[in-house]
Symmetry: C2
Subunit: 242 residues, 2 copies
């Protein structure tokens, strides 16, 4: 059975402030939880409505009713399990061939989807501006589908990081070289910008290669692509040519 | 001021059954509403907290408080306006070079993002299985960012449509020809499958070319891409080679 204090703790973890204060986050669903257990994430509690997760030590495994799960879940339709993990210490930035830099991505679903994409395309390192949504936000954790265990994410001063890295820097804009016809190197930093405003003026100054994803629609009214789908196309092009 | 009956009507329109019964749907936010107004969508009511949309006839433009908007909105953070439109009569299927077929896409955000992608890549026609989420679901309308006005969507018996079309049929699978190395034609049907289960066994039988998006991650654990990002990569490859 779940205690009142645990309910209070976990509902608190929906907020970034409380995740930071407690150095805890939570994940929902068998698949995501199993991926985190298999990686180096340290489990605090596991709540489940089923008789599953037999390998998890008894003292940390807590039976819970569907009604109780609904109280602590971040999902409109809760799964059967929710696990609380310690937030691991931030790892050093990996010297990955390609680094994805996120300039104020605000939507948790977008960040999660982008992590999953990086995992697919073998991009080991994401660097985020301080204004980018928290990687331990429950909606991000959910959208990563477990990729959170395999892609390294650091929050940095984006401008100074990029300036110091002395690598080719790529950004997508409405005007730029057609990405399909560009020779793309195997290493560098790829910047993706905010959902509403794109790449900020300050970060735009660091870009050494301006790229564009050509638009094929006849009406030419579509303003932009969703940032996660634009990232998919850009990473696909870099990897296809690698 | 909004009436009690209008509140009841609009909160009802959050449900597919009520949208169908009333033949009405709603959209939120200036950008999406303006796109729909400029297209052939027939306005029923416009509710706004601002003194905007002067061109909309007075009898249909209703001032509303933020509290009232919160009651009828489908957004956790409501915009400044919400408009109710008539659901237009389903148009005939367009003889588009490329047709995107959706086999049970359930997530509204995914369907909306896919519509926006089709708009970008000039794909004029989407056909959906009957189990695919309703195009007039508020979350779909929101995620399209106005592209709903420019891409034709029909709900059909997918199997019999594809069988009768006598076109090349493409599907992505874990095993298939590397999409980067495939010659892709300018016309055909591209099938994208359900978020959890992929393309159904019945529809898989209609596929004439099995494609795969190669995975570059070293750990090879990523199970799949999100369906909207996979669609982005597939459409990008078809259009790049067109």
């Amino acid at each position: 059975m779940i205690s009142k204090n645990q309910i209070k703790l976990i509902t608190g973890l929906h907020q970034k402030k409380q995740r930071f204060a407690n150095q805890l986050f939570f994940a929902e669903g068998i698949k995501v939880i199993q991926e985190l257990l298999q990686s180096n994430f340290e489990l605090e509690y596991l709540f489940t409505t089923q008789n599953d997760f037999e390998k998890v030590e008894f003292s940390k495994r807590i039976s819970i009713t569907e009604q109780e799960l609904k109280k602590i879940s971040a999902l409109s339709t809760p799964n059967t399990c929710l696990a609380v993990f310690k937030i691991p210490a931030e790892k050093k930035i990996i010297d990955s061939d390609l680094i994805l830099a996120l300039d104020d991505i605000r939507d948790p679903g977008n960040l999660g989807t982008i992590l999953r994409l990086c995992d697919w395309f073998g991009i080991q390192q994401i660097i985020c501006s301080k204004e980018t949504v928290d990687i331990y936000n429950p909606k991000v954790v959910q959208a990563t589908m477990g990729s959170i265990a395999r892609v390294n994410v650091n929050y940095v001063d984006l401008k100074s990081f990029i300036t110091n890295a002395k690598l080719p820097v790529f950004g997508t804009f409405m005007n730029g070289e057609n990405i399909y016809q560009s020779a793309l190197p195997q290493n560098g930093i790829i910047i993706m910008g905010n959902e509403a405003n794109g790449i900020s003026a300050e970060i735009e100054k660091t870009v050494t290669s301006r790229l564009t994803i050509p638009r094929f629609g006849k009406l030419q009214k579509t303003e932009s692509l969703n940032v996660a789908t634009a990232t998919a196309i850009v990473l696909s092009e870099f990897k296809r040519k690698s």
